[in-house]
Subunit: 645 residues, 2 copies
């Protein structure tokens, strides 16, 4: 018998060689039908794989990231089986799971896949899935593995085998398809109930453009049709809301070859949004006791040797500029510059917590193939700040940061969010993690307490903390249910020492402050990209580049129109007049399309009564209002930063 311990702390005894699936069945058949894989002592295994020793077990279902990932990896194998049955002779490279779905890279010889082929493949996959073929794991000697793929003539798998050691090689077989694979996989193909192949792309073998171009087929699968339908609907909506398309249509940003890839130029409309976001951040941070600083975009090599970013992080930084015999780097993060400001004047416990904020612009090197609109860029305007505090102040400071996130979520109508709390692994202290066992325990406990006390949804992830302290990755979902990583929140008990930051304690000793890194609004680039999708370009009034468009029916009303314009401008409202000699219907239609929140139609009646005919984007006519009435409404809406209902 072996001892199996469960996440709730319970420990039960089972026959040696029991599988996770057996254990699930022993609990309930319903549970067993949902088990996709299992975490065994922290490693993800096939649910069907026998367990021969005492183990900590977690059953993984569709609700677990690792469960989904296993499901999609198995779906890639299912797709490969279908491809091989329709296009015999195909050779396969790799087929990993993605954040959402999977792909497989394959060499189809001269065959070009068409949309029709995808439909055929989907049909075949559905057939094969229904057969419920079991995914069979087999450990295999290297020589045998080589012989198998040599016979098959698949040089890609042979290349993979080159880098594997004898004794660690496994094959997985389902139905008529066998693949070299580390696994794990789901129990059988019948779990896969809904299938969509989404895209065909070219991909150079090993990502190197000197190599042959393979065919990459993307797909996504689900355990039921309803989820697939919802997902496809979301994709369709996301396409309409594509931030690159909206960004161009609305004059938010542009890219230019002479400037460089991944370096957005913010157009006037985008700059208005940037400035509104910065205004919000400055107000919020000022009320929370932050001071502001401005630091250069470069620093000498010595700075990043001290911080430890060099040499380890060099690949993510821009290359150096060599000047006066020194190397200068574009900053990839603001922390070291902020630490220098902390250090510039002597500090005492009275100066703590010392909170300094900056919308700092950082530059990070991303491979050009990874760049994507505003989502993956090389220039990042970061809502950054660093809090230097004592251990005693930490809980309160971390809670205040968390509260700031929640406040922002409310303002932007972000209803779904999860804090992903990454913890250290006590076994790796002094190696992967700075050797401060007490500080790790205390700060992790305090961070957890903040999340629990504030009712903030969170998950815990073992062994994924930063080197220098626990961290929180903030995941948010847009209005159409797409997930984005917004920002990271980090505790840091290492940089203080590295930069020799000190404060005088009440006892006249000297101590090193704890540091909190935080950036609740992430970067302008990613956040505005997110907001474009989230609002479908229909920004709430306070963020809208143009807030009001005045639509006079004829130029006869120019004097009154101008009076309304000026009354609104005096209140700081962003307003324009459509002075063109066009039919009012056309003016309204075009204003609607431009997504301006309010339209004011002005004709004879409005002028005579000193009133306005008010229209709201997407909602039509709101009826007649006096000028003052409208001004009060819109000014209130702007000042309160009301979200779109």
């Amino acid at each position: 018998m072996i001892n199996i311990s469960f996440p709730d702390g319970a420990v039960r005894q089972y026959e040696n060689g029991v599988s996770a699936l057996d254990i699930a069945k022993s609990i309930s058949e319903g549970l067993a039908r949902k088990v996709l894989a299992a975490s065994v002592n922290g490693q993800v295994w096939d649910a069907t794989r026998p367990i021969y020793n005492d183990a900590a077990l977690k059953l993984l279902t569709w609700d677990d990231a690792d469960g989904k990932s296993t499901f999609w990896h198995s779906s890639a194998h299912l797709m490969a089986e279908a491809v091989e049955s329709l296009f015999p002779g195909v050779k396969f490279w790799v087929g990993p799971a993605l954040d959402k779905g999977f792909y497989y890279d394959m060499d189809l010889g001269d065959k070009k896949l068409s949309e029709e082929d995808l439909a055929k493949l989907e049909k075949k996959m559905n057939e094969l899935a229904k057969q419920g073929s079991i995914y069979i794991r087999k450990e295999i000697p290297k020589a045998e593995a080589i012989a198998y793929f040599a016979e098959k003539g698949d040089e890609y798998k042979l290349d993979l085998l080159n880098n594997l050691n004898d004794g660690e090689i496994t094959f997985y077989t389902q139905g008529n398809f066998t693949d070299l694979c580390r696994g794990p996989h789901i129990p059988n193909t019948s779990f896969i109930k809904a299938i969509k192949l989404t895209n065909i792309a070219g991909a150079y073998w090993k990502g190197d453009e000197k190599n042959k171009q393979l065919t990459r087929v993307y797909g996504v699968t689900f355990p039921n049709q309803k989820e697939l339908d919802e997902y496809l609907l979301m994709l369709e909506e996301a396409k309409k809301r594509d931030h690159r398309k909206l960004g161009k249509e609305l004059g938010i940003y542009t890219m230019d070859d002479d400037v460089g890839q991944g370096l957005p130029l913010w157009m006037p409309n985008g700059t208005i949004i940037i400035e509104e976001l910065e205004k919000l951040a400055k107000e919020t941070e000022s009320a929370a006791g932050y001071k502001r600083v401005v630091t250069p975009h470069i620093a000498k090599e010595s700075m990043y040797l001290t911080s430890g970013h060099l040499p380890y992080y060099a690949d993510s930084m821009f290359p150096p500029m060599e000047m006066d015999g020194e190397k200068y780097y574009l900053k990839a993060m603001n922390c070291p510059h902020h630490h220098k400001i902390f250090a510039a004047e002597p500090k005492s416990y009275r100066d703590l917590p010392y909170r300094i904020a900056e919308y700092g612009t950082c530059y990070r090197y991303e491979q050009s193939g990874e760049l994507f609109g505003l989502m993956r860029v090389r220039c990042l305007h970061m809502n950054d700040a660093h809090i230097y505090c004592t251990k005693e102040q930490f809980f309160q400071e971390f809670k205040a940061v968390n509260d700031m996130y929640l406040k922002y979520f409310k303002i932007f109508g972000i209803e779904k969010y999860v804090m992903r709390l990454s913890l250290h692994n006590p076994e790796k202290l002094g190696q992967k993690y700075v050797n401060e066992p007490e500080l790790w325990k205390e700060t992790e406990e305090m961070v957890r307490k903040v999340l629990i006390e504030t009712g903030t949804p969170f998950i815990e992830v073992q062994d994924e903390a930063a080197f220098y302290g626990p961290k929180i990755d903030v995941q948010i979902w847009s209005a159409i249910g797409r997930e984005f990583t917004l920002a990271t929140n980090q505790v840091d008990f290492n940089s203080g020492r590295k930069f020799k930051l000190e404060y005088t304690t009440q006892n006249n000793d000297s101590d090193v402050p704890l540091i909190i890194h935080r950036a609740p609004l992430g970067t302008h680039e990613r956040f505005i990209g997110f907001l474009l999708e989230h609002y479908a370009g229909k920004f709430p009034v306070w963020l809208a580049p143009l807030q009001v468009k005045i639509l006079p029916i004829s130029e006869k009303f120019a004097v009154y129109t101008d009076h309304v314009l000026r009354a609104l401008q005096n209140k700081g409202v962003r307003v324009e007049i459509d002075e063109r000699n066009e039919k009012i219907g056309k003016k309204i239609r075009e204003a609607e399309l431009s997504r301006v929140p309010y339209m004011l139609v002005i004709g004879e009646k409005e002028m005579n009564e000193n009133r306005l005919s008010v229209r709201r984007q997407g909602k039509g006519d709101l009826g007649s209002q006096s000028v003052d009435e409208f001004i009060n409404t819109i000014v209130d809406e702007i000042e309160q930063r009301k979200t779109v209902e």
Copy 2:
């Protein structure tokens, strides 16, 4: 007889060989006593040099920059004469005039000059000046010149002679001193009536640290004692107001070795000033119809090849970063990025004038020896904007820019300023100047008209325009009378074409816009450096990092003190409480020293009567005010951006 034409257009006939001084004497003896040199056909000449051809003549006095410069260059010769008489055997390198004063580099062998030596030299110079020795110009064959300095054993002058051609070499002699010199000089030494040698420094020969270090003696001279006294007083005051000293004391900025030279980090107090200046600029520019943009700090080499900054301006730029086989440069100016934004969307005449503004951060390479506090830096936050307009719109646009300058001068209490208008030279069209004779004429005329119509003080300088259009350098004087170059204002009829900028005209043709480059507040670095001196660190309330300090007499009044604090904070006033357990006298003294504009003393009486005892920095007790009364006063003072009286 020859024809001499004067600046007022008058033309008179004189004997051939007449000198400018003769001509001045023929007008009045008083005038002749003031003539230091003359501009003859645009070249500065000795006033005593005979004129043999028809010429355009301008007599130069102490009121002309070239007059002053000649005066100081002659003073350098006078100093050299004094040095040679006190330290025979001295060898001389060069002795130019400076913006203010002059220096001479000399090799004194083993002799180290002391302060006492300077006093002796001053005395000697006064003696020699009184002798009224004439500066005698003599053209001299190269061989003879070489023989003279060879005999004297002066290898430095021989080195200079190496690079001169026979036929263009002149000597100047006054009293017992002869120098190799291009001239010009003042008529005689008696013009120099007040002398101060200000500084001794080391200077490597030819600025190369591998060469011998020479002794550099700085001095300044004036045509009367009063001006010297005023100047020395100003220097003393400037020392007290040194922006580097104040910048540290007031927590405005810091520098750090790991960040790099010439790269200020703005501390919280400096950042408040930055943000107030940006707020002012944004309000002003928004009211003037500017839109805002945000652009990256880097661009590819191709951008600067298009703009023409590469290769010509490369020495003033940071070296490139090589990435993905491309060269990226830190931007040294914002214009090319702005042009790209103009070009990103098609423009019609309806979109013009198109005005885009950005507080853009630029990086320029300055030699480390040239760096000086905030005045000469490598990172510049520039109050930049570009106006794209038609020729018809130019006058109005340029006038609006000029008005903005005047508005700012008023806000900052800048009472003395001069616009230095640099014009082209029609003879150099197509070489030094872009070949657009009509555009030059028209825009220069319009710029001049703006300056005249608005009563803006200005001077015209021939043949100093930019390649692509006329420019204005804006000179301002601080409260203690020191001159600063604030900003440059340029007309540009070249970049539009280079960047293929176009707009559709009313006739459906395509045309290239004129561009105005302007930055009325210059850079944060220089402007805040200027303001520190200008205000002696005593900023007007709207700019003061801390606006109010509350000084409770005892902690017994904590509740009331806190109520006052919050009432002020609610109105956006930057306020702090001095909660220390110290005597009120000490609290007041320290608050005064910290230069906070308002101090509110709170004791029993104030609390009971809901009043405040108000003190103004540098002015003492303003008496008792109710809380509301004080709030109204200070809020008004801030909103109106009142200058310090």
